[in-house]
Structure formats: C-alpha cells, structure tokens
C-alpha cells in the first residue's frame, strides 16, 4: 500500500517528522552535555524507565502502536520539579535529550532483538514531553522552583490541577500530530481523522497522562521509588489493552479463515475474498473511511460471497459478475442473512446485502442510502472477477476499462477513480 502515490507522500511526511525530531534531540543532548547534566542520577533513572517502556508496547485499534510506560515516564520527567525534597530544575533541552536517549535505547534493544519498531510513533513521545515541559514551565507557580516546603505544599493541589490541564493539552496535541501524519497525502479531512484518532487513543492517553502526573507529584516526597509504584496500575491497563488487541486480531484472523469456506467448497475462485478485501481496504483508506468503517468494510469484503454457500449448485467459475443481476442480488441477500445471525455484525450484513445494488438507476439520482462500503466492494469485486488470477498489465487495463464503461450507473465514479489510482501505482 505504501507503493501508491498517497502512500509515498504519507511516508515522506513521516520521515520528515522523524528526522526533524531526531536532529532536535541530538542538538538538545549536545547542549545539555556542554552545560552539564542536572541530577544525573534522576536523568539515568528516567532513561532506564523510558527504555524499558519502549519494550512494552501495545497495539490500539487501527494498528496504532503505543508504549504507555515510556510515554508516562517521558511526561513525568517533563513535569518533574523535585526529588526527595530537593528541587530539580532540568532545562527543557535536558528533557528532550533524556527522552530522546531513552527512546533510542529502547529502539536499539528492539532492533537487536529483531522486533519491529515504529520511529514515527516513538518520536511523538519526545514531542509530547517537550510540549508538556514547556507549557508547565511557563505556567507553574514560582514557589516550585525555590521549593520552599511551607509554600509549595499549600500550592500543591493547584499544581496537581495545573499538571492535569497541561497533560490534557499535550494529549490533544499528540493525537492531533497522529491524525496529521495519518491523513497527510490522503484525501481525508484532518478533522475526521482527528476524531478517529481520539476515539482510538484517548482512553489510554488518560491513563498515561494520569500516571505521568503522579510520578511528578510523588517524587518530591517518595523519591524515585514513586516510579515503579505508579507503573503497576498502568501495567494493568496495558495488560487489558493487550487482551483487547489480541481478541481483535483473532476475530480478524477467524473471519479471514472462515471467508475461505466458500472457496474450499468450490463456490468461489481461490483467494478472491482475500484479494477483494485487501484492495477494498486500500480504497477505503484512500477515501478516508473511519477506522470502524474500515473494519466493517474488511469483514464485509471477506464475507461478501458467503451467500453462495446456500446455493445448491456452485456458480461456474465462482464469478458473480457473469450471472444475472437477480442471481447476484440473491447471493448478496443470502449472505447477509447468514451474517445477520451472528447478532453482532448487523452493519456488515447491511453492506453485504447491498453489494449488488447499482450506483444509480437510469434517470435517477444516486441512491444516498447505499453504503459507501457496498459501492467499494461492488467495484473491487467486479475488478477482481475481470482480472482473475492473471495480474498482467493488459488484463488490468481491460478490467479497468470495463469498470469505467459501467461508471455513472453501475459503479460509483469516485470509487472507480480511486481504484484506478491504486492499481496504477
């Protein structure tokens, strides 16, 4: 998917962000080393915790990797103002340097262990630490810097609220960066992507932010012991998110496997469901569908031919394109009935039910109620039927030509256009 035009533009944005942040970190680190490190022991403890956190990743919906412990530690260090009764005033450059070194150390271990590592997500931890640190430094009450215990203790409940506000703001900035990176190079409204990003990440962000604030608030009295203690509830959160991610993966794998039943039964050409679903998802992403819609689209594409199981005799060759529209609609409806019995995939059933409907009828306006996912599946499935297993350039061009002939009536022009772009690159 990264091969097509939008994907490469997206990749360019990601690379620019990563390289920019990495350079910034190096400069900050150099500056810090030149001016002397404030409280080296504290800095080392946070580097270790961030590096460890990088190793404990979870996957949020929509394939978004996250490292909650590393993110909290980075925030905690940015907001830290005292350790064990002693004031600690590390400059913002040191915050960037420490978080950068921690992230890099974690990444190094991951790469050595042969695991995948996502630079574009990891740099967001540096960015959020710097944002939080800057905002907090400009707004915090003066008593914190001098740490006159009699004063700051009275201020502490306001400092706590201030930190919560700073972290909330940082969270919004971070999710916005995520949405920007994901939407760049695609024809997707940024606001739409942001909503999607918030839906997927806000819950974990709240837990991460609360833990970061706690680390900063508790180290003045509890010393560095506060760090491991506050990681414990976050580990529980992380565990819960892991389970959630695992069941989502299993669900997807199962639907993928079971989508093959129609193929093994000789009803459909081998690999059709799989090809249609990956192409449909690519089209859907390009057209800016939200994460939940992408999932529905993927499932519906995988299961779009399941209705053929209910036919006594398989349609020869499996292609639903060559049979009469009436028959196609019957397969769609039978499939939708099967999917509806699950009781949880009603929207998927709806998409499957309407996959055979034309984009618009003669002399009528396009049907507004026709789901975009159905339109995508209709075009992509027809394309796959026409191309068949041979992916040569002529058959691709022929297939696209035939789809274009059906444009304006049978197929949604926007879908065909996107499909053409994706197939061409």
């Amino acid at each position: 998917m990264t091969t097509h035009a939008a994907g490469s533009a997206n990749l360019l944005v990601r690379r620019t962000v990563v390289i920019g942040v990495a350079l910034g970190c190096v400069v900050a680190l150099g500056f810090t080393l030149a001016h002397g490190v404030v409280r080296l022991d504290v800095a080392a403890a946070f580097v270790a915790l961030i590096a460890l956190g990088e190793l404990l990743q979870v996957r949020l919906p929509g394939d978004r990797p996250a490292a909650p412990i590393a993110a909290s530690a980075a925030l905690g260090y940015a907001l830290l103002f005292a350790v064990g009764g002693q004031p600690v005033s590390q400059p913002i450059a040191q915050v960037a340097g420490v978080v950068g070194v921690g992230v890099a150390a974690g990444a190094g271990i991951q790469v050595l262990a042969g695991r995948r590592w996502h630079a574009s997500v990891a740099v967001r931890r540096v960015v959020s630490a710097v944002v939080a640190g800057l905002v907090f430094r400009t707004t915090a009450p003066h008593s914190l810097a001098t740490l006159r215990v009699s004063q700051y203790k009275n201020d502490l409940r306001w400092v706590a609220l201030l930190m919560v506000a700073v972290v909330a703001l940082t969270g919004i900035v971070d999710l916005a960066i995520g949405a920007f990176v994901r939407s760049s190079g695609r024809r997707v409204a940024f606001g739409w992507m942001l909503r999607d990003e918030i839906g997927a990440g806000a819950g974990l962000w709240a837990a991460v932010g609360a833990t970061g604030v706690l680390m900063a608030l508790a180290t003045p009295s509890m010393n560095l012991y506060a760090l491991p203690i506050f990681c414990v509830p976050l580990l529980l959160t992380q565990f819960a998110f892991r389970r959630y991610a695992a069941i989502r993966t299993t669900y997807r794998q199962t639907i993928r496997s079971l989508s093959r039943v129609a193929e093994v039964g000789g009803y459909v050409e081998t690999g059709h469901a799989h090809r249609v679903s990956s192409l449909a998802v690519a089209v859907g992403r390009e057209m800016g569908l939200a994460e939940t819609e992408i999932t529905d689209l993927e499932y519906a594409a995988l299961l779009h031919d399941i209705g053929q199981l209910s036919l006594t005799d398989p349609i020869p060759g499996g292609s639903t394109l060559v049979v009469a529209p009436v028959e196609r609609r019957r397969v769609a409806e039978l499939g939708a009935d099967v999917i509806k019995t699950t009781g949880v995939l009603d929207r998927v059933a709806d998409i499957v039910a309407r996959q055979a409907d034309p984009y618009r009828r003669h002399r009528e306006a396009p049907d507004e109620s026709l789901p975009i996912e159905s339109r995508i599946i209709k075009a992509v499935s027809a394309y796959d039927d026409l191309v068949g297993e041979s992916q040569g350039p002529e058959s691709t061009a022929d297939a696209l030509e035939r789809l274009r002939l059906g444009m304006a009536y049978e197929y949604d022009p926007a879908v065909v256009e996107t499909l053409t772009r994706i197939v061409a690159s």
Partner: protein, 464 residues
C-alpha cells in the same frame, strides 16, 4: 426471602444486626469532615457501580478496595465505615432488599476488621495519616489489605455455602485464590492515595491513582464484548457451513460442549478449556472440502469415497491455520480421527502420541454422532451410546477420556438432539463405516452448558 433456608436466614439476620450496630457506632464516632466523607463515598460509589469481571480467574479489578483502605488511613476507621456503608447502600446489583442490607452490613464489618488490623499493627498514625512512619506503615497496610480480603470472603462464603450445596472450605478457597493475588497490589494503591492526599495534593490524588484502573476496566469490558461477538460469529458461521448437511445441524456446537464438559471433569485449566471449545466448534470445518453429495449420501461409502472424507481433518487445519491463537486447537482438529490403537487417520498416531485435545474431541464427536439422528438411522439413547463408547475404549478411544465423559454426563445430563425424526429412516440400511461413529457406525443430539457462574464479582465480593 421465603426461599432462604432457616440457617441462612438466621445468618443474614445476625450479620445485618451486627453490621447495623457497627454502622451506628461508626456514625457516632466519625470524626472526619463531612465533605471528605462525602467525596470518598462518591468515588467509592462510582467505582462500585461499574464492576466487571475480567474473564480471568486470577485477576479481578477493584476500585473499591483502594478507596476503602485510603479512607481508613485518611479519615480513620469509623469515618471509613460510614464512607463505605453509605456508598454501598446505593450500589451493588442485588435486587432483593435483604441482600442489599446484608451487603451493606458485610462491607461495614469488613472495613471494621481491616481498620482494626491497621490500628493494631505498628507504624500507623492513628486517625491522621501524617503521623504514619515509613516504612513500617507498609506492613500495616498490607496487613489491613489481607484482613479485608479474609473477612470479606468469609462473610460471603458462609452465605453462599448455606444457600448452595457447596462446602464452606471449597467456596472459601475458591474465592481466596481468585482475589488474594490482586488484593495486596490494590492495598498498596490505597496507601499511595493516602500519601499523596495528605501530602498536599488533596482529593485529586484519588482520581489520578484510579484513572489507569478505571481505564483498564473499560478495556476489559471492550475485550469482553469483543469476545462475545467473536463467539457469536464463529458459532453462526459454523451453522452456515452446516447447512450443507441437514443431519449434522448443531453437531459442532454440541461437540464443543461435550468436549468442554469432559475436560472440566479432568480439571483442565480455563484458558485451555476455551481453546478446546473452539477446537470442538471447528473440528469438522474441513468437511467443506468434501463434496456435498458424499456427506449427504444415504448408504455405505465405497473406499474411494471414504478416502475423500478422510481428508477433512487436514483440510480443516489448512483452513484455520491463519488463526494464530488456535495453536493447540489445531492439533485437536487435525487428529480428531486418530485411534489409540494407531489405526486412525490422517497420521496413524497411537496412544499418548495423539494430542490430548484430539483424544477428547474424538470421544465427544462419536458420542454426539451416536445420540443424533442421521440420514440413514435414528438416534440411539444416551445409555446405548455410552455402552458403545465403553466397548471401544482402549482400542478406538482413550479409556480415561471415555470415563471422564461418562462421569460428566452422569453428573450433568445430556440433551440429545432428535429433531430430524420426521424424516423416514430406513432401518434396513446398515452403515458400517460412518466417519464419526465408533468402529464404523453413527448417530447424534445434545446440549452441555459451557458456562461458569462465579460467586464473586469484583474484588469486593457480594451476594447478588
């Protein structure tokens, strides 16, 4: 209330009276500011409302325990009793009023016990946490958390034991195992709340400490919903596959249930039970690769036809090997037609070479097949099917598995599936080698419950 046994009724009344006395005493002796008590009660109530199970036996998520302990540390035992009793009066899922009264009394007594342990152990600061001494207070808090757990489970275990047939030690240890591991951790969080709260952060500390737990609980809830959706989806897709053969309708689900019943009898761990459930569900999915004509054939199969059917376990594995979590289930699907004497298919494994899942599914499969009606013969009785299983134990089936299934069916019964009897069955057709029957004959029908009813939900046990 009429349905309550006399002993149980006496117990409920006794606990309620003692609890009420404790609450009355607590109200008279509560020294904390009402605003603090009200705030703590509010978060206790909110935490208690959203109780969820995690589907994992060893892990329970509690928001109430840290709050209860933090209350003991911050506002003293008697005010803490007021906090927890007031909040639980309005919380909980119990519908009958006497259960509600019991729960409130039970919570109050639990907090009194935890508070007494805390005050009795060294290092505490009395009703004011600022006087506490580190690190000795850590021990006192741990002691209080343990006491909380012990008293809470004891009070609830007695009523569960009195209203069901289970012995007290069994209920007690079951509950302890479930809760003890998480409780010390939650106790520690209560301490952390108290440290921060009294250290100047104030009530926000409680919210900050609880945020990750609340969100973990939300994620577990999502997990639970997704898990339910997953089960429903697999079940209905399997039903769709079974439409190919009218006579095997529901077979996969029943085999899954029988396998799980059998494995529970063997004391199998819960995560493996779940896997076995899916293996049972999916064991025949490879039959889709077998021509429908063969599956629906009324009459003996020739060798070539039987060879085609023999491919289905391997085909099944090919179909589901994209599902990563089904590792062990895969073996069960592949080898469910092996025989302990080594004459089965596809690999001719013998005895203990055959994976445990496969040996279980083989017995469950044959049992359901025999007690169900098939196109060429009617269903057998459960007793006849068991006799047949016993006859083939040691040659076709693992004797241990057969015994376990017999014990499970004896204990819990079996609803055989006899729906398709309106069809005319020709008794003259004797099938020697139906692929699911032991030795070579078949039949089918049933409904074992794959469900467990935990007595406890959340760390705070309750009667509901």
């Amino acid at each position: 209330m009429r349905s309550l046994p006399r002993m149980a009724l006496a117990y409920v009344v006794a606990v309620s009276v003692i609890g009420a006395a404790a609450i009355a005493f607590a109200i008279a002796n509560s020294s904390a500011a009402w605003s603090e008590v009200a705030f703590l009660a509010c978060i206790y109530w909110v935490g208690d409302r959203g109780r969820v199970g995690t589907k994992l036996r060893t892990l329970t998520i509690s928001v109430t325990l840290p709050i209860a302990l933090a209350a003991v540390l911050l506002v003293g035992v008697w005010s803490a009793v007021v906090v927890c009793a007031a909040a639980s009066l309005f919380a909980g899922s119990a519908s009958q009023w006497y259960k509600r009264v019991f729960n409130v009394a039970q919570v109050a007594l639990t907090v009194v016990a935890a508070g007494a342990a805390y005050q009795w152990l060294p290092g505490h600061g009395g009703d004011n946490f600022e006087g506490a001494q580190f690190p000795t207070v850590l021990g006192s808090v741990a002691g209080a958390a343990v006491m909380y757990c012990v008293v809470n489970i004891l009070l609830v275990a007695v009523i569960v034991s009195l209203t069901t047939n289970m012995s007290l030690p069994r209920v007690w240890w079951g509950g302890m195992a479930e809760m003890a591991s998480s409780n010390l951790g939650y106790g520690l969080l209560g301490l952390v709340i108290a440290v921060l709260w009294s250290g100047g952060v104030g009530p926000v500390a409680a919210l900050l400490v609880l945020a990750p737990i609340v969100i973990a609980r939300w994620a577990f809830q999502q997990y639970g919903e997704q898990h339910k959706a997953y089960e429903a989806t697999v079940a209905s897709l399997i039903r769709a596959v079974e439409t190919k053969d009218y006579y095997t309708r529901g077979h996969s689900e029943r085999v899954a249930k029988a396998s799980v019943m059998l494995a529970e009898q063997l004391g199998m761990r819960e995560d493996r039970l779940e896997m076995l459930h899916y293996a049972g569900m999916l064991h025949d999915v490879g039959k889709l690769g077998v021509p429908t004509k063969l599956l629906q054939k009324t009459g003996p199969l020739n060798d070539a036809e039987f060879d085609a059917i023999k491919l289905h376990p391997t085909r099944g594995v090919e179909m589901v090997n994209g599902i990563a979590f089904l590792d062990e289930a895969m073996l069960g699907i592949r080898h469910h037609h092996e025989r302990v004497d080594g004459l089965g298919y596809p690999d001719g494994l013998a005895g203990d070479q055959i994976p445990e899942f496969a040996r279980i599914i083989a017995v469950a499969d044959a049992f359901d097949s025999m007690t169900s009606t098939r196109s060429y013969r009617s269903a057998r009785s459960v007793a006849a099917a068991i006799a047949e299983l016993k006859r083939w134990a040691g040659t076709q089936f693992d004797t241990r598995m057969v015994d376990a299934l017999v014990a499970a069916v004896d204990a819990r019964g079996w609803d055989a599936n006899v729906e398709p009897t309106e069809e005319v069955i020709d008794p003259s057709v004797l099938v020697l080698r139906d692929h699911d029957d032991p030795g070579g004959e078949v039949a089918a029908f049933g409904q074992p419950p794959y469900q467990r009813s935990p007595y406890y939900d959340g760390v705070q046990a309750q009667v509901s």
